[in-house]
Amino acid sequence: MDVAGRIHEQLSKCGVRLAASLPDDWVAPLIERIAADNQIRHVRVAREAEAVAICSGAFFGGVRSVALMGATGLLTCTGELATLNLRHQIPVFLIVSQRGSIDDHRIYQEVQGRRTIPLLQAYDFPYHVIDRPDDVSSIPDAFETCRMQKRPFVLFLTRRLVKGEGTA
């Protein structure tokens, strides 16, 4: 099974029944995989903060959910993560491409690579990095930690995980 399939399988194991997404090319295969699953309601959004708020609403409907986006999208919704999810202690589980890493040779991603983790630390948002296919099995633990900590939790997918070894 490919990495997208393995992540999808773990999300199903977590009981995820709703996904809201805006694609980045690293998370696109996972999004399409989830979109094809009729057990998960998939919502394509126009802006990443919509995904955050949709998942927050779903929480109160008793539905487990995930927001999928790229690193740039994560930067765009930090205000909403703070004023909705931190404000009310609403957990939201985000799967995000870790763009701007040393093997991501895209100039328009370099700021995301340098500043995203410090930004999450400033907000006190927990995160976990999945770098190897074997790490995918940690997703249920990450999901439970998100619920317990009652705040945004970012699960990063690295380039090596989604694209394999090799140069950018």
Partner: protein, 200 residues
């Protein structure tokens, strides 16, 4: 039509609907009219009450979900209309109070100075039903038919702006307490599990 009158009228027709309110005037007036704990009052994320309401509506498809939105909030996230239209949640009613100003901060004008036709935007986005209502009597007359329509339905409530600040007090609880009161209210009403066995 004044905002308070329109919201009070909506409240009288609410029955079993669960409401999500945009922050500021919409939330404060809905609280004043209903004092309801099975309503969620946004305290931030301006523009995203619509998305929150959509997530709730998709998760509870048998429950009527009302969004009490306002023009300033909608302008922050017009893209939400595309998402709402695409999901076609039949249980979702979108009420949008259009007073042309940012009332909560002292009635400064909203962008585009009252020229925007929000119902036309919603219609163009793919909403199957849209309405614009300017008089209280008209709202009273049309509301039963609007509530009988399959969602998503956009109803623009054109109201006169108030002068200066509105002094309607906000709800008397906030933050985590609002989360737990709202979540527990939905658990009791619908027999769902929002919080796990250990309370989180």
């Amino acid at each position: 039509m004044r905002a308070r009158e329109a919201i009070e009228l909506l409240a009288r027709h609410r029955r079993d609907a669960v409401a999500v309110c945009a922050l500021g005037m919409a939330a404060n007036e809905w609280w004043a009219a209903t004092k309801s704990e099975d309503s969620f009052y946004m305290h931030g994320a301006m523009g995203f009450a619509a998305s929150f309401a959509l997530g709730l509506a998709l998760s509870l498809p048998q429950v009527p979900v009302w969004l009490i939105n306002a023009d300033g909030s909608l302008c922050m996230n017009l893209g939400c209309l595309l998402t709402e239209a695409s999901q076609a949640a039949q249980n979702l009613k979108h009420f949008m109070v259009d007073n042309g100003v940012y009332q909560t901060v002292g009635a400064l004008p909203v962008v585009n100075d009252g020229r925007t036709d929000y119902a036309a935007i919603a219609r163009a986005a793919g909403f199957p039903h849209t309405h614009t209502i300017e008089a209280l009597e008209e709202l009273e007359r049309q509301l039963p038919a609007i509530l009988a329509e399959d969602g998503p339905v956009m109803t623009v409530l054109r109201v006169v702006p108030e002068k200066g600040f509105l002094r309607t007090p906000p709800m008397t609880y906030e933050g985590p307490e609002m989360k737990y009161r709202f979540g527990r209210a939905l658990e009791r009403r619908f027999g769902i599990e929002v919080f796990g066995p250990q309370g989180y």
